[in-house]
């Protein structure tokens, strides 16, 4: 038996079945339902339907309040959910919007923990924020579930070709949802993976610090020579730490070896069983668990963020460029610099970047107003530079990179070109790509993650297990 309902009918029917519709309406007027948090997850799992029970009520409430405002053509209230706090930059952006739309009220909502769950709950209840932040974890899901406004028509209407060309191609193109090519958002900033290096350690070991274009063999040699042991043979400093052992970041390593996770021509096919992909895993496995020139997860202990390199536990560390602010805010005792990922067997430079963005909820009652706010934060130079400076993450457009470098140097007097320039060069090199998605991405990760853990985190398996993993993932994605 297969009967189809509209979402509204379904939610209404279930709410009535539960006999809680009227009471829910009464109570929802009295107070808000708390969003599920990490520690509340067990309760959230059982309470999730409660939020859904309220869905018709909340959706009706939104319509009821928004309709007169829209009809009156006057006051409009929009909500902005962001992973920023409501600081001067946010307030300035709101003030800027009010210059054009004096009757608009913007209610800002800081994102807090478990923001993906929070957004989901809000969407289910038909009450999501109008402007919202997204990333590789969330945007694809919201787009698949038809929750994001397609920005393509607005982009075509308002942005010039020069403005579009100023964005980084990988990020601009990456914000097109693979399923229907809708534009999910505009870039927030750029986050790319790079290597932080202890220059003093290189000098001490008589090694030349790496520069862009360095080779995998150079990296291997550096890891070996930078690994220090005491008289008993106990490692006192590891050559490096590659914080890339999750499916998103490790795609960069797969590409360095000429492999992929998802078949570039078929998002239902997993290609982790190719020789190239397995070589990438094996290269890391050997250096983690046989040579131990790369530090293992358990050897890192409880050090977080940039602590492993800052405390000289490792001499090279792979991390996002967004973490550079931590190094600049708390300068380590040694000289340090940055470098792009090494070049592998393909001979081609590679990098990985995110699609962190602002999108617009499809249910918004004031799309043009929200689009104007989005244009202020994503396209106006002063706001974009302010956001970049705040996060010490590179801005979302090429033309802003020199100003960003100048702003960082102005803020941090000791910042050097070795620290700032490599990420700018990598961004403009065209080497950076985004992470790819399976058709059923999250379910695929349920199969891939345990295998990655066994090979790269616990060292209990070899890359041969990827044959079975690839088969399972492909089968999953090709099921109806």
């Amino acid at each position: 038996m297969s009967t189809r309902f509209s979402r509204r009918h379904f939610l209404s029917a279930i709410a009535l079945l539960a006999g809680s519709g009227a009471a829910g309406a009464a109570l929802s007027a009295c107070g808000a339902t708390p969003a599920p948090a990490a520690t509340q997850a067990p309760a959230a799992a059982t309470q999730a339907p409660a939020a859904a029970t309220e869905a018709p009520t909340a959706a009706q409430a939104t319509e009821a309040t928004a309709a007169p405002a829209a009809a009156g053509g006057g006051a409009v209230t929009i909500r902005w959910l962001d992973w920023s706090d409501q600081d001067d930059i946010i307030n300035a952006a709101i003030a800027k919007l009010k210059e054009k739309h004096p009757n608009v009220t913007v209610n800002f909502e800081p994102i807090g923990d478990q923001w993906g769950d929070k957004q989901l709950t809000q969407m289910v209840s038909g009450n999501a924020p109008d402007l919202l932040t997204g990333n590789d974890q969330t945007s694809y899901i919201w787009a698949e579930k038809n929750q994001l406004l397609d920005l393509n028509p607005l982009v075509d209407r308002d942005l010039t070709s020069d403005q579009i060309a100023d964005f980084f191609e990988y990020q601009w193109n990456g914000l097109l949802y693979p399923g229907n090519k809708q534009r999910m958002g505009l870039p927030y900033y750029t986050w790319i993976y790079q290597y932080y290096i202890n220059l003093d350690a290189f000098a001490e070991a008589g090694l030349t610090p790496p520069k862009a274009g360095w080779k995998l063999d150079d990296y291997d040699l550096d890891l070996t020579k930078l690994t220090k042991k005491d008289d008993s043979g106990k490692v006192t400093r590891w050559g490096g730490m590659d914080n890339s052992y999750d499916p998103f970041r490790f795609e960069m390593w797969l590409r360095i070896f000429g492999g992929n996770m998802v078949d570039p021509n078929d998002w239902t096919k997993c290609v982790l069983n190719t020789k190239e992909a397995k070589d990438a895993f094996e290269w890391h496995r050997v250096r983690l668990f046989e040579k131990n020139t790369l530090i293992q997860q358990t050897q890192v202990g409880q050090l977080t963020n940039m602590d492993p390199i800052a405390t000289e536990k490792v001499a090279i560390m792979g991390e996002g460029n967004g973490n550079e602010g931590l190094m600049l805010d708390n300068p380590p005792k040694f000289k340090w610099g940055c470098v792009a990922p090494p070049i592998g067997p393909t001979g081609k430079a590679q990098g990985i970047g995110t699609i962190d963005n602002w999108g617009i909820w499809k249910g918004t009652k004031a799309p043009d107003v929200v689009w104007d706010l989005l244009k202020i934060v994503a396209i106006q130079d002063d706001f974009q530079l302010a956001f970049a400076a705040k996060w010490v993450a590179t801005p979302n457009r090429k033309s802003l990179l020199p100003k960003f470098a100048a702003a960082v140097k102005a803020k941090y007097k000791d910042a050097t070109d070795d620290q700032i320039q490599p990420q700018l060069d990598l961004l403009t090199s065209g080497a950076v790509q985004i992470g790819t998605q399976f058709k059923k991405h999250k379910a695929s990760l349920e199969i891939i993650n345990p295998a990655m853990e066994q090979i790269l985190r616990t060292g209990t398996a070899k890359p041969d297990i990827l044959d079975s993993v690839a088969d399972q993932v492909t089968k999953l994605n090709q099921e109806a």
Binding site: T298, K442, E446, T460
Partner: protein
């Protein structure tokens, strides 16, 4: 009071207007809780029961599929894994937590122990620390290379296991964490122990009963209602184990800590299969209910209530 008067006279008596007003006031006072319970607990449960019959993400299309979610569960490899992981955890954690709390309470019931109040506080403290903070602390203690446990083991020449990084030791690690947080159970046992009338022990001693006999024939029976309560609550809590698996291992290594609640969280909030997640929740509910009923049924054989008449 009106009720007892009516019973005493053997016929129903019309309630006075004052009594009726008091009754209405009573209902009004409890109504926030009752309405909240009906909507947010009973309503939510019925809603989730309804969801089990649908293939839905609650956002787009919703399809009625009858009992297919339950059928699919029966051959879902990961669900079956989560079932076995949860069962293993319950099997280890429940008896150990119940017994550990009892032993600690028995020790701390002795007022002759120096600084007994301090010890009681120390043992109770872990149970009021947030789950996330506890998880972070234990990640350090259980670190195979730098953790406290393996350091202590190394002092006696034992190479410790890899704890949460090992498929074999991950669940036992969680069990140890659970035993460490036995404070709240311990507190209930202490209250139970202190409510046992002293004359019972005095009489037993006069009759020549030794300490083991007094424990077995007085303490344990008199404490059995507390033991029963702790057993039920620990059992329910153990089936719902989540925070450690979510924060410390994310279900790994190789799904060794993929508990049922973590699995339903993933299905619901990560993959948006709310019908399927609800089916997992209801299977878990039925399992918990079955075990709880079993404990309730068995309680007639081993739980003793003072003043209770037995045939």
């Amino acid at each position: 009071m009106a009720t007892s008067t009516a019973l005493a006279s053997g016929r129903p008596k019309r309630m006075s207007s004052r009594a009726r007003r008091r009754q209405i006031a009573g209902y009004l006072f409890i109504s926030p809780w009752v309405i909240g319970f009906l909507v947010f607990t009973v309503g939510a449960m019925l809603f989730s029961l309804g969801l089990t019959l649908f293939d839905t993400d609650l956002l787009t299309e919703t399809k009625f599929i009858g009992l297919k979610n339950f059928v699919q569960l029966s051959h879902d490899r990961l669900f079956l894994k989560s079932l076995s992981v949860t069962g293993y955890y319950v099997l280890l954690a429940v008896p150990l937590q119940v017994l550990a709390a009892l032993l600690i309470a028995l020790m701390l019931n002795n007022r002759k122990i120096a600084l007994v109040g301090v010890w009681r506080t120390l043992y109770y403290m872990p149970s009021i620390v947030s789950g996330i903070a506890v998880s972070m602390l234990w990640m350090w203690m259980l670190n195979p290379d730098f953790g406290l446990f393996n350091y202590l083991l190394s002092l006696v020449g034992i190479q410790g296991p890899r704890w949460i990084y090992s498929e074999q030791w991950a669940i036992p690690s969680f069990v140890i964490m659970g035993v460490w947080a036995a404070g709240s159970n311990m507190l209930l046992y202490l209250a139970g122990l202190q409510s046992i009338p002293t004359p019972l022990y005095e009489a037993a001693s006069i009759d020549g009963a030794g300490s083991w006999s007094r424990f077995w024939r007085i303490t344990l029976p008199m404490l059995s209602p507390t033991l029963f309560f702790n057993l039920v609550m620990t059992l329910i809590g153990a089936f719902q184990v989540f925070t450690q698996a979510f924060v410390m291992t994310n279900g790994g290594p190789n799904n060794a800590t993929l508990t049922m609640v973590l699995y339903l969280y993933r299905k619901g909030f990560e993959q948006l299969h709310f019908g399927y997640a609800s089916a997992v929740a209801w299977v878990l509910f039925v399992i918990i209910m079955a075990f709880t009923l079993l404990v309730f049924r068995s309680s007639t054989a081993w739980v003793y209530y003072e003043g209770e008449l037995r045939r």
